[in-house]
């Protein structure tokens, strides 16, 4: 194993971690491979698709093109930091209620981006949602449900029972 030239400390989901990576390592690899946080996903490595989105000081950031050194001293939150299967965040619950996933690979980015939107704009219009989400790609075509899930969370209806049909 090569030795890192510097020791970096980053704060992720409320806890401090010393990381072994070189400072210019994409944050995504550190989150996944050193901290075993599988929420953020590699999609393009180019900042084009949004699958790797995390929050840095509350703002959505693409962790595949963000050097780990750039988040030193800042608060990083990943999908795991929002909630768990047992205690999901209201937005995660809204995605469950709307069954807003197919393969689900893009969903990390969808939820992280939408969470940042709702923190800034608690009652977004549909156009606000489409504009905010336009930077993220989904291939399964789950867009309609993702939009509904964000609207449901915004309306505060994110704790209802799963399934929409009787």
């Amino acid at each position: 194993m090569s030795q890192p030239s510097t020791a970096l400390r980053i704060r992720v989901n409320g806890a401090d971690h010393d990381v072994a990576a070189e400072p210019d390592t994409p944050l995504l690899y550190v989150l996944r491979n050193e901290l075993s946080l599988n929420g953020p996903k590699f999609g393009c490595g180019l900042g084009q698709c949004g699958a790797c989105t995390v929050h840095v000081d509350g703002a959505p950031r693409r962790s595949c093109v963000t050097a780990v050194s750039a988040v030193a001293g800042k608060d990083v939150v990943t999908l795991e930091g929002l909630g768990t299967p047992e205690r999901p965040h209201p937005l995660q619950q809204a995605f469950i209620d709307e069954q807003a996933a197919q393969c689900g690979y893009c969903i990390n980015g969808m939820i992280m981006r939408a969470a940042a939107l709702l923190a800034r704009t608690p009652r977004p219009s549909r156009d606000d949602i489409l504009t905010a989400m336009d930077a993220n790609l989904c291939r399964c075509g789950t867009h309609m449900r993702i939009v509904r899930a964000i609207e449901r969370a915004a309306a505060g209806g994110a704790t209802g029972p799963a399934g929409r049909e009787g």
Partner: protein, 752 residues
């Protein structure tokens, strides 16, 4: 293996004494499944489909574990199949654990393809669950000394009708034991009218984990000692490796191995970012490459190559009917190469050590991947185990199999478990592409207002180039052998829905399968069906317009199947279809000079599967040529619906992906390589471009067998969009993607 418990022994003695049908069972070793099935540990021999024990195991804790060959590709099928088992076995779906796609532990149910998982895979699981239920009833009848007919089951508890105090749970009846029973196919199955779980919108089991980062994708598999690999592909299709400066990468931090086998090149490093850096730094010299067809001449090239010609269907005498037609119509349609374009590039983890290998892969065919990987590694097939682990989407034959071979080769070379994830560029340039198609159509409507002649000719490379036992059918295998992975004619697939289901008196449907093409192609969702249906349903619309007949009415005149007519009726009603005669209305003009139009299309998928009719509303801006799909109505009949919400999710996904393929997508390439290697070069639909509504009418037919729904709803969408553009503007766009440039060009040609 633990010794049989006292209660087990007494139960067997009781059964023997009772002198009625004895269902044998032995204790099931909980930890080693393969051993329990009589398989030598480490030997990759799939369990027999005939043995009930191959399909499911009931534990002492009342849990049911199902071993399914069909796998979850993101379509929700593992939930739907659970519903089928739960229904037939009389247990709550939540008590069912699921093991899928393991070449050593699950039955080979064939690849998870062609919308066949519920139809075929579900039928197999239903039979297995029904057999298990019957076996449990027989054991309980013996123990309770009552006939089977006096027993009822509720959520895994068998009780005597009218005396609920006399009951036994599944766990006490067989927990940990084996059924030792062959699936007879004679166990009674439930009547659909009595279903309690099938037909209900059961939430998908894996979604809570997927939205919280707890779901394990193949990308998330981590083995002890695992390191990271990256491949370095030739920069041009068909280029060979002339020289490799291994030191250019080997000296970099963390690099374990630079691997070269023939034209196959890869690196292995301790950390992922080190592997990425090493792959970029590796200094390789590649030969010049054969020239690809000029993108502008693609369709002429397709038509010029050697083909295997095949008459898919014929009736009457289309040629003479066409010659005698008063107003024959001819049209040429074009469909480009397209990508599966999963959001996550292909990934696999392989652990190759000594004389055995385990490969974690999002393959559609774990059992089928064993042989070519084993051949590539130089191992007997029974030393290779492939374990399905869900990937990023699927949509057909993508890079999953190829990256598994990459990981296997790099793991073998490094002597460590290796995870390989392709870069976005690797993915776009090297995944098997959905094939381009060229169509030449001719036809006519007679004086009686019916189609009097119909001819179809289509040229396309193979839509089916799945891995065979030959390792050269995997990219790594081809490169090791110094060959170029190309589209060879292994099987067709381009003929899916080539012939319509309309009853036509004079038709001739001819496919021209291009035998070899320098760009490697294989199965993309629906195979030839969306493309064929684009041509057929656009052309039918052209015939209707030429004859002044409402396009829905013209379709009805050539259909008699009541289920076909029912979906057409349902979607026309839901959308508020207004019958129209000949010429398009040239657009209701909305704001900004926007023209509004609506188009119709109908397809019975693969001619024997799901019935789908669609009405699409579009806005077209004549000045820019921009098309926006506003609303899509779909009526869908796939027989018995297992999970209505899961089905809606699939239909919505098909519709959105089909809009994307129709309006946006084409593989860009120059004379030597694919150039569209990122999301700017291969754009897909974005949120700002989705419809305002997708309105779905599910026609549930509990009396009809379930057929697949993973692909069907894609097929009518492309033509419905093109027909809507025609309705809006009078301009016919016959080449996908229906880009603003092509719409403007069609508008000029139609002199609107």
């Amino acid at each position: 293996m633990s010794a049989p418990s006292a209660s087990t022994r007494s139960r067997r003695e009781f059964l023997a004494d009772a002198g009625i049908l004895v269902v044998g069972f032995t204790l099931f070793p909980r930890s080693v499944r393969a051993e329990s099935l009589g398989l030598e540990p480490g030997r990759s021999t799939a369990p027999s489909a005939d043995a009930l024990d191959s399909w499911l195991v009931i534990g002492r804790d009342e849990g049911v574990t199902v071993y399914a060959g069909k796998v979850e590709l993101g379509t929700g099928v593992s939930t739907a199949l659970r519903q089928i088992v739960a229904e037939e076995l009389d247990v709550a779906p939540t008590r069912i654990a699921w093991v899928q796609g393991d070449s050593q532990l699950t039955v080979d149910q064939g690849r998870t393809v062609g919308s066949g998982s519920v139809k075929r895979g579900g039928a197999q699981l239903r039979r297995a669950a029904a057999e298990a239920r019957q076996a449990l009833l027989e054991i309980a009848a013996a123990r309770l000394s009552v006939p089977v007919t006096q027993l009822a089951i509720d959520d895994g508890v068998v009780s005597v009708t009218g005396d609920a105090s006399r009951h036994l749970t599944f766990g006490t009846l067989i927990g940990g034991g084996r059924f030792e029973r062959t699936i007879s196919g004679r166990a009674p199955v439930k009547a659909p009218t009595s279903y309690k779980v099938v037909g209900r919108p059961v939430p998908r089991v894996e979604i809570p984990a997927k939205v919280t980062g707890k779901h394990t994708y193949v990308h998330d598999v981590r083995l002890p000692g695992m390191v990271h690999g990256r491949v370095v592909r030739p920069p041009r299709v068909g280029a060979t490796l002339e020289s490799l400066d291994e030191q250019s990468a080997a000296k970099l931090p963390g690099v374990i191995r630079v691997v070269r086998k023939g034209t196959f090149v890869g690196v292995v490093a301790e950390r992922e970012e080190q592997a990425v850096r090493a792959a970029k730094a590796l200094n390789a010299k590649w030969s010049a490459a054969p020239v690809l067809p000029d993108a502008a001449d693609l369709y002429a090239k397709l038509k010029s190559l050697a083909t295997t010609q095949h008459v898919v269907g014929e009736a009457g005498d289309a040629a003479s009917a066409l010659r005698s037609a008063a107003r024959p119509v001819r049209a040429t349609y074009r469909w480009p190469f397209q990508l599966h374009a999963s959001i996550g590039p292909s990934c696999a983890v392989a652990d190759v050590r000594g004389d055995a290998a385990t490969v974690y892969s999002s393959t559609q065919g774990a059992h089928q991947l064993v042989a070519p990987v084993a051949a590539l590694l130089g191992m007997p097939s029974d030393r290779v185990r492939v374990v399905f682990t869900e990937g990023s989407g699927c949509y057909g034959h993508n890079g999953a199999d190829d990256v598994a071979a990459d990981a296997a080769l790099l793991s073998q070379a490094a002597g460590r478990p290796v995870r390989v994830q392709w870069s976005r560029e690797d993915e776009n340039a090297w995944e098997p592409e959905g094939p381009a198609m060229l169509f030449e159509m001719a036809g006519a409507v007679g004086a009686d207002g019916r189609i009097s002649a119909w001819t179809y000719d289509a040229w396309t490379p193979t839509h089916g180039a799945r891995p065979t036992r030959d390792p050269a059918t995997l990219v790594a295998g081809a490169l090791v052998a110094g060959a170029t992975p190309a589209a060879e004619f292994f099987s067709g697939g381009g003929e899916r829905n080539a012939r319509t289901t309309y009853v036509l008196p004079n038709e001739r449907v001819t496919s021209h399968a291009v035998r070899s093409f320098p760009i490697r192609t294989s199965s993309l969702r629906g195979l030839g069906s969306p493309q064929n249906s684009f041509a057929n349903e656009s052309f039918l619309d052209e015939l209707a317009a030429s004859a002044g007949i409402d396009p829905v009415e013209l379709r009805r005149r050539h259909l008699s199947d009541p289920r076909a007519l029912a979906v057409i009726e349902a979607v026309a009603k839901r959308a508020g279809w207004t019958p129209r005669a000949a010429a398009p209305k040239r657009g209701g003009v909305a704001g900004n000079g926007m023209r509004k139009g609506r188009g119709f299309a109908y397809v019975q998928y693969d001619r024997t599967e799901a019935y789908v009719a669609a009405v699409v509303d579009v806005d077209v801006r004549p000045d820019t040529g921009a098309v926006r799909v506003r609303r899509v109505c779909v009526a869908h009949d796939c027989g018995l619906v297992v999970n209505p919400d899961g089905l809606r999710n699939q239909i919505e996904g098909n519709v959105v992906q089909a809009i994307s393929r129709t309006l946006r997508e084409a593989v860009r390439f120059d004379s030597t390589r694919v150039t569209g290697v990122d999301w700017n070069g291969y754009p897909i639909l974005r949120f700002s471009e989705i419809p305002e509504a997708i309105d779905i009418d599910l026609i549930d037919r509990p009396d009809q067998p379930s057929v697949g729904a993973g692909e069907a709803a894609t097929s009518p969408i492309p033509a419905a969009i093109a027909n809507a553009i025609f309705d809006a503007t009078g301009a016919r766009v016959r080449q996908v993607p229906l880009t603003p440039d092509r719409v403007r060009e069609a508008l000029r040609a139609s002199k609107v």
